[in-house]
């Protein structure tokens, strides 16, 4: 008997193993839905798959009568734009601030506590303030994402920078590097893979904040739609929308993972599997 830790499934086995849990979940849902429908034919909570499919196809392919737009497409585009702006700004801010905090002891001392405190402020709680400062337009939605997502990126990037062996920073200086060129040529390239990893980790929270912002003030977007129909518990809309959001997030995650592995192959050589 080999030790469990040494049992490595082959390619086919891994694929199979990855799929099985999803199949189980799907089966549980179908059974639960059927049961509730049997008890109450009007049950809205766990609509059967057929009903969700019908709703989805209506939202994804038929233009809305009033606006003439295809609802799902319009919602997705609106949300993705906000998400991209929010995540983009947050990533940029996170990188710049994180590197500054990590490389420059003076900035680290001055900003470290501030960032630590800011990252602890629950963004939802200050949402009313944000809306009042930035209005109810696109800006406040993007800002909420930035406020929610940037602080953890800043803190983690700062930590990543500090985990670069001192030897390397010293070596760079002996090669004639200034603080700036050390950052540009030594610190930044080594931090980028982690940055992508962080963006991946923040996709979930970013969607969370996006949905929260869209729930309160918006006229389009995935979160807007979910909260609009949530009042009527229209799970036949909510569940496909949640699945769609999850799929988008998952694909984004996958793309970023691919990007990181192709752009920064050197950082992934040590991976065991």
């Amino acid at each position: 008997m080999r030790r469990a830790m040494n049992v490595r499934p082959g390619r086919g086995g891994r694929l199979l193993l990855a799929i099985v849990p999803f199949l189980i979940l799907a089966a549980v849902y179908v059974l639960g839905s059927a049961e509730r429908r049997a008890a109450n034919p009007n049950d809205k909570l766990l609509p059967p798959v057929s009903e969700m499919a019908a709703t989805t196809s209506r939202m994804a392919f038929e233009p809305d009568k009033r606006t003439g737009e295809i609802t799902l497409v319009a919602d997705t585009l609106a949300s993705l734009q906000r998400l991209a702006l929010g995540l983009g700004f947050a990533t940029l801010a996170g990188l710049v601030l994180g590197v500054a905090l990590g490389v420059l002891p003076v900035v680290g001392a001055g900003g470290g506590a501030l960032v630590a405190v800011i990252s602890m402020i629950p963004p939802m709680a200050i949402l009313p303030i944000l809306f009042i400062i930035f209005g109810l337009g696109e800006l406040s939605k993007v800002i909420l994402i930035v406020i929610g997502v940037a602080p953890p990126i800043v803190r983690d990037i700062a930590m990543t920078v500090q985990s670069i062996p001192t030897e390397q920073l010293v070596k760079a200086q002996t090669l004639g590097a200034s603080t700036w060129t050390t950052i540009v040529r030594v610190v930044l390239p080594q931090v980028l893979p982690r940055l992508i990893e962080l963006v991946r980790l923040q996709i979930g929270p970013a969607f969370l904040f996006l949905i929260a912002a869209e729930a309160i003030a918006s006229d389009s977007g995935l979160g807007y739609r979910i909260f609009l129909v949530r009042r009527y518990l229209a799970m036949d809309v909510i569940l496909p929308y949640v699945a769609w959001i999850t799929l988008i997030a998952f694909v984004l995650d996958l793309l970023l993972a691919r990007l990181a592995r192709s752009a920064f192959a050197w950082a992934y050589v040590g991976e065991r599997r």
């Binding site: 062996p165 390397q168 010293v170 760079a172 002996t174 090669l175 004639g176 540009v184 080594q190 050197w266």
Partner: protein
């Protein structure tokens, strides 16, 4: 001129005294080998000369002036580990040495300047025997090859002072001989002052013009950190004529311990 003068230098980490009142005059252009038992503070001493650590007491002078308190291009270094950049290829690591010095804004060279630097880098990479591996990243190299790369990188800057911390510790004898053959003429030609920490007495005598041994003179078994290391042995090899190349008198080795 690049004489180094170490005056009453102490290195302490909290309670632990690592180096105790060290005094040493290193002549300009000399090749100083530092030997001593493991953990006696050789690396600590090197870091102080480099400007990375500051002595807890005492003074360090370079050519009569206080040693710059931070590392610079005048003092090259090869550490025991971590001294190559994992995100650059072999060639990129060496090229970086030229780029960092010449391009203050982007840290990158372009066009003719880059071609010139690339040529010099390739020469160095080939010289240290990494020619076939020039496009690999350090993680794909064996430990020995990584150290060779680090040496090539440090040499690229023609530093006035070169600090080596067991740079050849992980190399096999053949490559080690190649590295000696590369380093020695360079040192002679450039007039660098070299300080090399090594565990290999043969190497110490082979390359150095002077060998010093660090060790604790006093020892308190109850408190190992109570006393620090000092120079226990100091041999100027230039005075004794040619240095033995293939071996060295046994009494030297024993006296140095």
């Amino acid at each position: 001129m690049s004489a180094i003068s170490v005056q009453n230098v102490w290195a302490e980490f909290g309670d632990q005294i690592v180096i105790e009142n060290l005094n040493l005059e290193v002549a300009s252009g000399s090749f100083l080998s530092v030997v001593g038992p493991s953990g006696c503070g050789k690396s600590t001493f090197l870091r102080m000369v480099l400007g990375q650590d500051r002595p807890s007491r005492g003074t360090l002078l370079l050519a009569g002036k206080p040693l710059p308190v931070e590392p610079d291009a005048d003092r090259g270094v090869v550490f025991q580990r971590y001294s190559v950049f994992p995100h650059l290829t072999v060639l990129g690591n060496v090229l970086l040495a030229y780029e960092l010095g010449q391009s203050r804004v982007l840290g990158r060279l372009f066009g003719a300047a880059r071609r010139r630097a690339l040529e010099k880098s390739e020469e160095l990479v080939t010289a240290v025997g990494l020619g076939p591996h020039r496009d690999k990243h350090p993680s794909a190299l064996s430990g020995g090859m990584q150290q060779r790369l680090a040496i090539a990188q440090a040499l690229a800057k023609d530093p006035k002072v070169l600090l080596l911390d067991e740079p050849f510790g992980a190399l096999d004898p053949g490559t080690r001989a190649q590295m000696h053959a590369l380093l020695k003429p360079l040192w002679e030609r450039l007039g660098m002052t070299v300080i090399m920490v090594t565990h290999d007495l043969k190497e110490a005598f082979n390359l150095g013009t002077r060998v010093v041994a660090f060790d604790k003179v006093r020892h308190d078994p109850q408190a190992p950190g109570r006393f620090g290391a000092r120079v226990t042995y100091d041999l100027d090899l230039t005075r004794h004529g040619p240095v033995p190349v293939l071996g060295f008198p046994k009494k030297h080795a024993e006296a140095a311990r």
